[in-house]
């Protein structure tokens, strides 16, 4: 028997495609935000609210990933937001190749924030890079404060963490400290925003942070973005 050392990443093909997506987005002045969360945590609601608050500063596009249906895409389209729906069938996550196809369908004529609403799932999306600039994890008070302990891999990739449905914090007996300790046990505490898509609280801070991230990536290339 001969033994051959390989040491090759099994998801290499996806990583390579993700890198090509990243180049494509950079050359088109697109900031890509991969939104990951459990089903029903408030991905669609958060994306809508964020677009509402930053609509006069950037152009937006949305890629909706769901196993089935066009429900979320229709919500975006109704509001005139450019949207592509990806139905993954029985796949539980999006991959770089799906994003390449969908992202190519938009026109980017000014600095754009592209939201990717990943399939509602706290497990598989964490393994697949898409070419995104930011990974956002949305937790919600309704799913309980123990999720960072149970699903660490998704939190490992989080560049920012949102706790949505903060209006229900008391009713859900959501233990904020236990939640934050869990995130901090996975990685150095990323920016954390407590928001409510229902009553609007916390959304300004979050939108402000996102805009500053956008400045950081696109500001240099285009000079004038959000008028100063």
């Amino acid at each position: 028997m001969g033994r051959i050392e390989i040491r090759r990443n099994i998801l290499e093909a996806n990583e390579n495609l993700a890198r090509r997506n990243r180049d494509f987005f950079a050359s088109n002045d697109v900031l890509v935000v991969n939104v990951m969360a459990a089903p029903g945590a408030g991905k669609t609601s958060t994306i809508l609210k964020t677009i509402e608050s930053l609509a006069d500063q950037y152009a937006f596009a949305v890629i909706e990933g769901d196993m089935a249906s066009r429900i979320d895409a229709d919500v975006m389209a109704e509001r005139g937001i450019p949207v592509e729906q990806i139905n993954t069938g029985n796949m539980c996550h999006l991959d770089a190749n799906m994003i390449r196809e969908a992202a190519g369908k938009f026109t980017y004529d000014r600095p754009t924030i592209l939201f990717i609403e990943n399939v509602g799932n706290l497990v598989c999306p964490s393994e697949f890079s898409l070419g995104e600039d930011l990974n956002i994890v949305i937790a919600s008070t309704t799913e309980g404060h123990d999720k960072p302990y149970k699903y660490p891999s998704i939190y490992l990739r989080a560049d920012a963490v949102l706790i949505n449905k903060i209006d229900l914090l008391e009713a859900m007996e959501f233990d904020r400290k236990m939640f934050c300790d869990g995130v901090a046990a996975v990685k150095p505490m990323p920016p954390l925003f407590e928001i409510s898509c229902r009553n609007g609280s916390g959304l300004d801070d979050w939108a402000c942070w996102l805009a500053s991230e956008c400045e950081r990536k696109l500001g240099g290339t285009r000079g004038k973005l959000a008028e100063g």
Partner: protein, 92 residues
């Protein structure tokens, strides 16, 4: 006979049985049809945020065995790669 060693960190969402399942489907009728997959699982490693002690453990939020301090996930546990392939080269 061919044997492939795959390294999987326990912090990934990769399940050995499901890799094996798809491997069997994809290799049917190819030279890898009878290849054996060997899985090497890597336990997550944690580092103490107080004393820097490095230790392996099972769960997030585990306390440092040395000083009782809080821990944070270190590098190990997120692997998913092919380590090596063993092939019959005719020699004994």
């Amino acid at each position: 006979m061919t044997a492939i060693t795959i390294v999987v960190g326990d912090l990934t969402s990769i399940v050995d049985e499901s890799v094996q399942f798809y491997f069997n489907i994809m290799t049917k009728g190819t030279i890898l049809e009878d290849a054996i997959l060997r899985f090497k699982r890597i336990a997550p490693e944690f580092v103490c945020t107080d004393c820097g002690h490095l230790f392996t453990g099972r769960s997030i939020g585990i306390r440092c065995p040395d000083c009782g301090g809080k821990s944070i996930v270190a590098d190990k546990g997120q692997e998913f790669y092919i380590e090596s392939v063993e092939v019959d080269d005719g020699a004994d």
